[in-house]
Symmetry: C2
Subunit: 375 residues, 2 copies
């Protein structure tokens, strides 16, 4: 059959990302492409940097949007900051902690894992004991907001521990940035990466990234070359530095950066604190509704992410059939369980532009109807 233009329906995206995107951001995305060395584009890149500094709450001069998805942002942190033989403490309480561990190994680093249950936050006590036992470790890596479970860890306490033991912290903020408090400078975090398609509600494909001066110092004093050319941030730095002429490293994803600029601008206009509060308010409404429908949360209330609600499937409910019904009947996407929670839980996202009254109302009403259908 002949291929024709792809005309997607208007889905309501309440999974673990990509999240709903505002019409304003999609409009920015399709503005005319300019060259990646165009003076106007470079001015826009400076604004993206400044808006990212606001979103991350940092003054780090190395604050960029990497030209690839969040998983490349994760890898950028490890390949730049970990040298062969470096010992890294990795906290693992879900899929993305395990991915961090794999990254360290692929850089030739030595990993010490601190394990916590899926659905639990990283145990600050366990991490402290581990740091005491491994004072020679170079970095502490953890996930702020575990997208696979919806658990929030105490990035402030973990960042302080890393500093106390003279280690760098490497922080996955893919799902946290813009959805819950994240104060990079105040919490003394060293390397923090995120994704464009979660609480920033931009198109997928970019990874906001910030390095502290301590992280930059580590990169500058490396004894071994960085194994990736594409992710070598010493090469990218020249393009983003804003000091005179930009040198060419790779062709920036111009249009995606238009969209990021717009979504960060919307965040700034709303105000970070207001955005955090909106996520919390919508979460509370969704929570009450889900509990009324008999759902139980995977994560204890004290550590629960407002923007990612992981709930166990009620007994006898057919996972795939219900999600397919939601998609076909309501154009509503919710997320399946990942890893150990596959088939056992759903992940309902309230990320960025998706955290709105109409989405909560639709989701509860559609879920209720679909559960009844599937019984």
């Amino acid at each position: 059959m002949a291929i024709t233009s792809f005309l997607p329906p208007r889905r309501i995206l309440m999974g673990p990302g990509p999240s709903d995107i505002s019409p304003q951001v999609l409009q920015a995305l399709s503005r005319p492409t300019v060259g990646h060395l165009d003076p106007l584009f470079i001015t826009m890149m400076d604004e993206v940097k400044s808006l990212l500094q606001y979103a991350f709450q940092t003054k780090n001069s190395f604050t960029i949007a990497l030209s690839a998805p969040g998983s490349a942002g994760m890898e950028a942190c490890f390949v730049n900051l970990v040298e062969p033989g470096d010992k890294v403490i990795v906290c693992r309480n879900g899929v993305f902690g395990e991915r961090m561990r794999e990254n360290v190994l692929r850089c030739g680093g030595e990993v010490v894992v601190v394990d916590d249950e899926w659905g639990a936050p990283v145990s600050v006590d366990k991490v402290e004991q581990t740091l005491k036992a491994h004072p020679d470790a170079k970095a502490l890596a953890f996930v702020h907001a575990e997208t696979s479970t919806g658990a929030l860890s105490d990035a402030q306490a973990l960042g302080a521990l890393a500093k106390r033991f003279g280690m760098l912290s490497i922080v996955d903020a893919v799902t946290s940035l813009g959805g819950v408090p994240l104060l990079v400078d105040e919490w003394q975090l060293d390397a923090v990466y995120s994704g464009s398609q979660k609480c920033l509600s931009c198109v997928p494909g970019l990874s906001p990234l910030t390095f502290s001066d301590a992280a930059i110092a580590k990169i500058s004093s490396r004894k071994t070359p960085i194994q990736s050319w594409f992710l070598d941030q010493t090469l990218v730095l020249a393009y983003w530095s804003g000091e005179g002429r930009r040198s060419y490293h790779h062709t920036a994803p111009v249009n995606s950066l238009y969209a990021l600029h717009e979504s960060l601008l919307m965040l700034q206009q709303e105000g970070l604190e207001n955005a955090w509060e909106r996520h919390q308010t919508m979460h509370q409404k969704l929570k009450v509704g889900l509990e009324n429908l008999g759902f139980e949360f995977v994560v204890d209330e004290a550590y629960r992410l407002p923007q990612l609600n992981a709930v166990y499937l009620p007994q006898g409910v057919n996972d795939g059939a219900v999600r397919q019904h939601l998609l076909k009947t309501y154009n509503l996407e919710i997320g399946a369980g990942l890893g150990g929670l596959a088939g056992k839980a759903w992940r309902i996202g309230l990320m960025g532009y998706a955290a709105r009254e109409e989405n909560v109302a639709l989701c509860l009403s559609a879920l209720e109807a679909s559960l009844n259908t599937s019984k």
Copy 2:
């Protein structure tokens, strides 16, 4: 000053990429985002694969669009196909051959360089002598169309040489795909990568990539792990395989893939041969006009790329001033010289949607006026 929405002008992009993008592709780009595991999106990805197979002229089942720019596509080839200690012959006749060399080194490979002058094609004779002298080499890497100079190398002859000596070929087709003949299967090329923002006239940020069965066999029989997690194609394969359920690797850049789908569809509708002919026809018109203005080409006519016209600056012309004038007065972007040609040459692109009568006419007329201004 407060940051506001970025409203770029409508530039005419006749540099080395990104190239002009058709309104149809920009429209596709901004269609509503769906989830990257949505059944409709997966069907579209199958179509992207099929359209890429057409563009590459290959039946390779591993034919994908990598979620990052062409330089990541280059790195994906090297990290997957080169193991520490592997000897690789790298042909260097411009910026991108040098980048290939750096990639091999960062993978722990051993490099043998075959050097040719900037502006010259890769010498098939020299490569043959080198392969004879290094029969233990595992791969031959070369750039089909050098974006830094506008020189076209004989990928067919080089591919045949690699096969004769039992080596894999790794081919940079960033600027060639869609602009000049590239017959991956007929020429027996093993690993070929390109970029979305050149002759495909899609937004920058994606890298079309195809691996032959021989390349896949090499990956499958590796003795050492692949150093990159993000670029490990054994992990990505599962998402693109089309065999039943897609497994999650990373979040695909959904909207950019809409745009690629549309631009590949336009290429298919025009027909590859017609697209090659259009590039050639427009190049001939531009060439006559440039020569009338007194320009000399960097590359001999026999090896000249129609889609990238590198010409020496006429004596006494101010490089930056003229390009700035073209941009400010006509919204016309042409490319500066790169590397050894910086300040000495311009690169005028006629890539994809930019290869149109109106662009050629505007470029010649605007150049003539601007040169007069600068004298």
